[in-house]
Structure formats: C-alpha cells, structure tokens
Symmetry: C2
Subunit: 113 residues, 2 copies
DNA sequence: CGATGTACCTTGCAATACTAGGTAATAGTT
DNA sequence: AACTATTACCTAGTATTGCAAGGTACATCG
C-alpha cells in the first residue's frame, strides 16, 4: 500500500509519461480510448481513469499528433479509433531520443556509490 | 529547437522525475539548492529554474523526506544543505522499484514491432 | 425487465513547474 | 571606493493536467 507521498508522486510521473506511452502504443496499432486504458495497465502497470484519457486524446488530436475515426461494427457500441499522424510520428521520435538520454542519465545516477 | 508541444512535454516529464532525481543525488551527498540546479543539469541534462527547486525542497522537507542545515564557511554566502532523512531513504527505495519496473515496461513497448 | 459491462464525454478541484519578481552577500573590475 | 556579476536564497501568481465524480447511450445476459 502506497503512502500519500508515493501515490501523489506516481500521479506526477504519469503526467509526462502518459502521452509518451499512449503514442508508443498507437505506433503499434490503432486503438480506442477504452482499449488504451486496458493496454496501459497491462503493458505499463499504470492505472488510468477515463477522465484522464479522453481529454488527453482530444488534446493530442487538437495538436495534430493524432487523428480519430468512428468505426461501427455490426455488433457492439461504435468505437472511436485513434492513430498517429505523420506529425505525431515525428514528434514521437524526438520524445524517444529524449527519453533514451534521460534514461541513461538516471541509470548512471542510480549506480553512483 | 523544440516545438511548443515538445517543450511542454519535457516540462511535464520533469514533474515526477525531478523529485526522484533530487533524492538520488542527495543519496550520494548532501547538497544545497543552487548546487542541485547545476548537478541536475550536468547529470540529467535538465534545466531547472530556481523558482522550481526551492519550493520543491521545502515541500520534501515538510513531508519529512529531507532535512536541512545552514552551513556558514569563513568565506562565501551561507548555504542551506539538504540531505535525506531515514524516511526519505525508505521512500526512495519504493520509487526506485517503481521506476525500474516502469522502465522495463517502456523498453519493451519501444521494441514492439 | 433489471443489472452489468462497454464506450464515450464533461466539470471542477488539487497539485506543481515556471515566470517574474525580490533580498543580500561576495568577488571581480575599473 | 563604486560598479557589476555571481552566488544563494526566497515568494506570488499563472498555466497545465490527472483524477474524482458526474453524465449519456447501447449491448448483453439472466
């Protein structure tokens, strides 16, 4: 069980990481919001609320990093599938570079002493 | 040169990481605020403003993760040195575990497809 | 029909990095 | 001695954003 400090810290960690993780997942396949919540939990062990993901997806769409498309199947509720735009793919590359160098720094920091 | 999106994203990434990096550095040695800014930039490549570090250090102190001590030398301005408390050391361990598993997940995500 | 699950969305709050200011002492230069 | 830059600390206000808590609508199953 996490202390108050730790749970707030985890929430902070998500703030930047979430966008990155969502874009990484969308790079592998188009997803709809509800599916992303499950995927993020399964793949990254982070629990995300719906009130988090939908505004975030809308923001990324408004920033032209994602585009969406309603898909209706013969059965089930229609779903809004998101995928990366060319601009999104480009930005993701910048993010990956940054994360790699950041990751390297932190690994080094952890090994001092 | 970063786009608006990227620079905002980097700022978000810092939000959770900063506490973690500060505590990692303080684990290796006591530091004062001004020194931490330089160390974080040198070790993690992150540029931190003074208006960021001082409120953060005060918050961590109020949460009993850090303690501080004024040190006056014969020359120079007195400095407020911070170091981890026993509770801070313990919380840092929890954070390290979380970061390690998170890091593993992200590495895997990056290698899909 | 009633309950549960899927799938989308919005409003308001709380937390926090940063901008833009400030103070004060020291060190270096003219 | 006077001026400037640097070191070192701090605070008030703003903007951003995850989440809690609410909502809607359809599907599925007993």
């Amino acid at each position: 069980m996490d202390t108050y400090f730790i749970s707030r810290w985890k929430s902070q960690i998500k703030k930047g990481l979430l966008e990155y993780i969502i874009m990484l997942i969308l790079k592998t396949k188009p997803c709809y919001g509800y599916e992303l919540i499950a995927d993020i939990n399964r793949l990254a062990g982070m629990e995300i609320a719906e009130g988090t993901i939908y505004p975030l997806l809308n923001r990324l769409k408004k920033e032209n990093l994602l585009k969406s498309e309603w898909i209706e199947k013969e059965v089930g509720i229609p779903r809004k599938y998101y995928q990366l735009t060319p601009e999104g793919i480009e930005q993701l590359k910048v993010m990956q570079n940054y994360m790699e160098s950041l990751n390297e720094s932190i690994t080094q920091l952890m090994n001092i002493k």
